[in-house]
């Protein structure tokens, strides 16, 4: 502070007083602002309000008692109903209105006159479904409904519906179509209730909506993503049509190694196209000579694809010696050069030198049968 100067004109007040002075000026400005605003309003000519303020939903719990008197007890409903057999349809469970929407009171959504003494007056101007008749009343509070629900892996058209409602455009999808009677205990959001996909699909079919039923991604977030595996019937239990895609009717039995394989290891994401039910679509055959289309003719997938003895019944028709010990021989025990095989015994067996006496000229089966002891018919006994 070498260049410090002696200040001139410093007030006689203590220096600290500048702080309350500054605060005082700020408060004075506020008081002045409030007074001037009131004065300005008083002298400004009335202007029509450009647009109405946000409509509000009347909180009507207190004046809904009249509704409760009838709709909470069946006997009261039957007494006042035109047709007592229909009375049960209008019965409301008292506990069910303990939801946030239910607490708003009946009149908030349904209109009418809760304090009226007679039924006709009470039901004047009754609104059965507010979301169909006055959807903007729902949107007042629910403007920011998300379009995607990652936890449920669902994609929903909230934004488009809300936009239409806010723009005053016709929209034939109402909140109640999916959310039902939110004031009557039906609360999808809580997760306590499971909404079947049938509800969605029935509505889509009924309305002939453009969403392709086969396009899972239209409504489901990444339904077939391997990183978040789902069992097939997590989704495919929902509708009768989709139940057809069940693991039990898979073209290839899902057993052994097949049961452990992820769907998209074989199928093409997301629509399962590009795959038939032949083994060679996925497996490369080591057999150069044999038909690779029917691996199961020799291999048993339920036993880890180990090499199995042949069980082909056609053998017996082609070869009368397909019996006895021959049945125990594995396929490539004979078909080591392929299926085109000469059925002569000498293809596999060597004629012993003891038969050089002329017996080698005969057909082996004259004396030997595969299902009998080797020397059963031998001339020497």
């Amino acid at each position: 502070m070498s260049q410090k100067q002696k200040s001139k004109g410093i007030s006689k007040w203590p220096q600290w007083t500048i702080i309350p002075l500054g605060l005082g000026f700020a408060m004075l400005a506020i008081v002045l602002g409030l007074l001037l605003e009131s004065a300005a309003v008083a002298v400004t000519p009335e202007h029509a309000t450009p647009t109405p303020t946000m409509p509000t939903i009347a909180y009507s719990e207190g004046i809904s008692e009249g509704c409760h008197n009838c709709h909470f007890t069946l006997s009261a409903l039957e007494a006042s109903a035109d047709d007592p057999s229909d009375a049960a349809m209008y019965l409301i469970e008292a506990d069910s209105i303990a939801t946030p929407h239910g607490k708003l009171g009946c009149l908030a959504c349904h209109g009418g006159h809760g304090e009226a003494a007679d039924k006709e007056t009470a039901h004047e101007g009754l609104i059965a479904d507010m979301s169909a008749q006055d959807p903007e009343n729902c949107v007042i509070c629910h403007q920011d409904m998300p379009n995607e629900f990652p936890n449920d892996r669902l994609r929903l058209p909230h934004g488009e519906i809300i936009e239409r409602v806010m723009q005053g455009e016709p929209c034939d999808v109402h909140c109640s179509d999916c959310h039902g009677g939110v004031g009557h205990g039906f609360d999808l959001v809580s997760g306590d209730k499971f909404c079947s996909m049938t509800v969605c699909l029935d509505c889509h079919v009924e309305r002939n909506l453009a969403i392709q039923m086969a396009d899972c991604d239209a409504c489901h977030l990444a339904p077939h993503t391997e990183a978040i595996p789902l069992a097939c019937n997590d989704c495919h239990r929902s509708t009768e049509a989709w139940q057809g895609v069940d693991a039990s009717v898979h073209p290839v039995a899902l057993e052994g190694k097949h049961a452990e394989t992820a769907c998209f290891a074989c199928h093409q994401y997301p629509n399962f196209v590009g795959l038939s039910d032949t083994c060679s679509d996925c497996h490369e055959s080591n057999h150069t000579e044999w038909d690779a289309e029917d691996c199961a003719a020799c291999h048993d997938p339920s036993d880890g694809w180990v090499f199995a003895a042949s069980g082909w019944e056609g053998h017996a028709e082609l070869w009368d010696q397909y019996k006895g010990q021959h049945l125990k021989v594995s396929c490539n025990g004979c078909h080591f050069m392929g299926y085109d095989l000469d059925p002569s015994c000498t293809t596999c067996h060597q004629v012993p030198t003891s038969h050089d006496d002329g017996r080698a000229e005969n057909d082996c089966t004259v004396c030997h049968q595969a299902d009998q002891p080797w020397d059963a018919n031998a001339p020497e006994g």
Binding site: Q3, I19, L21, G22, F25, L36, E37, V43
Partner: protein, 311 residues
């Protein structure tokens, strides 16, 4: 003027929050630039440091009153600290850091001006040293505080600009307007008004003061004009809000108190001071008072003219 959405309490909170942050900014800049130490006594830093914390606290209390639920069940406010998707959470954190920093700066500035306070404290707190390196400590406090003050001033505008249901507010230019207004009102309260009343010589110490004021007022006029133009171009409720301010129920307040008193009047006074080559204390006090009052009305008009999207 009918209040559609929020009312005076929120407008005053925005005003006090912005002005408190602005006063801190002015004081901190004078502190960091060394200008404070050119005189034996710098009233601007003393008032700026001293009022910024209390102004913001008063505004915040008003905000709690406006919230209603915050009064009935104050523990619910704690939940707002962790709702990261809400801009209010960011604001709460900024304020939570800025308010203590502002008070610390205020206390340091007062102790610096009144060394006797430290001596008095040492009677009870014997571990305290005989003297403190005030300038070094304040340098750190001001450096951190400037960032938080900028955040506070911007936040008051961001708070409104994220409300998509009110098209008038839903624009990124609003935080810019509030920041400029915060600096302008903060400087007006601390330097032009309070400091000049206490030390009439104050305006002479800041030779470029008229230029700074002219720049700030000019900038505010441009931003305000752009804000109205953008809102008008949006049509719908945004345009109706602008009409409400410029030609409707708020027109008298806007043209007289904001445009006339808060912009044109101080602009003329400062241009006069610039041409004259000196900035008299009367000019300073008048211009300062006008800017402060107009700053309140800018916020009030923008808050009160909010017309929500109709459904």
């Amino acid at each position: 003027m009918t209040e559609h959405y929020w009312g005076w309490l929120v407008a005053i909170y925005l005003f006090l929050g912005g002005m408190g942050a602005g006063a801190f900014l002015i004081a901190a800049v004078i502190e960091l630039s060394g200008k404070r130490y050119e005189q034996e006594y710098c009233p601007t830093t003393l008032v700026g440091a001293g009022v910024s914390g209390p102004l913001i606290v008063i505004g915040t209390v008003l905000l709690i009153f406006d919230l209603g639920a915050g009064l009935r069940e104050p523990w619910r406010i704690v939940n707002m600290f962790t709702n990261w998707s809400s801009v209010m959470t960011w604001g709460i954190w900024i304020l939570s850091f800025f308010i203590p920093i502002a008070f610390v700066y205020g206390v340091l500035e007062v102790m610096h001006v009144y060394p006797g306070i430290l001596e008095w404290l040492r009677r009870w707190l014997r571990f305290l040293p005989e003297t403190l390196p005030y300038r070094a400590i304040k340098r750190v406090v001001c450096s951190i505080g400037i960032l938080l003050a900028l955040g506070t001033a911007l936040y008051t505008g961001v708070l409104l600009s994220v409300v998509q249901a009110v098209p008038l507010w839903s624009t990124p230019i609003l935080p810019v307007l509030f920041l400029i207004s915060a600096v302008s009102t903060g400087m007006a309260l601390s330097l032009d008004l309070s400091a000049t009343v206490m030390v009439p010589e104050t305006p002479h110490r800041f030779k470029r003061l008229p230029v700074i004021h002219i720049a700030l007022i000019g900038l505010e006029i441009i931003v305000l004009a752009v804000f109205f133009y953008i809102s008008f171009q949006k049509g719908g409720e945004a345009a109706e809000s602008v009409q409400l301010i410029l030609t409707g129920a708020g027109s008298l307040i806007f043209w007289v108190m904001v445009a006339g008193l808060g912009l044109v009047f101080p602009l003329v006074l400062n241009v006069y001071a610039l041409l004259r080559g000196s900035h008299g204390h009367v000019v300073g006090i008048l211009a300062g008072a006008a800017i402060v009052v107009a700053g309140l009305f800018v916020r009030y008009l923008i808050v009160a003219a909010a017309i929500p999207v109709t459904v």
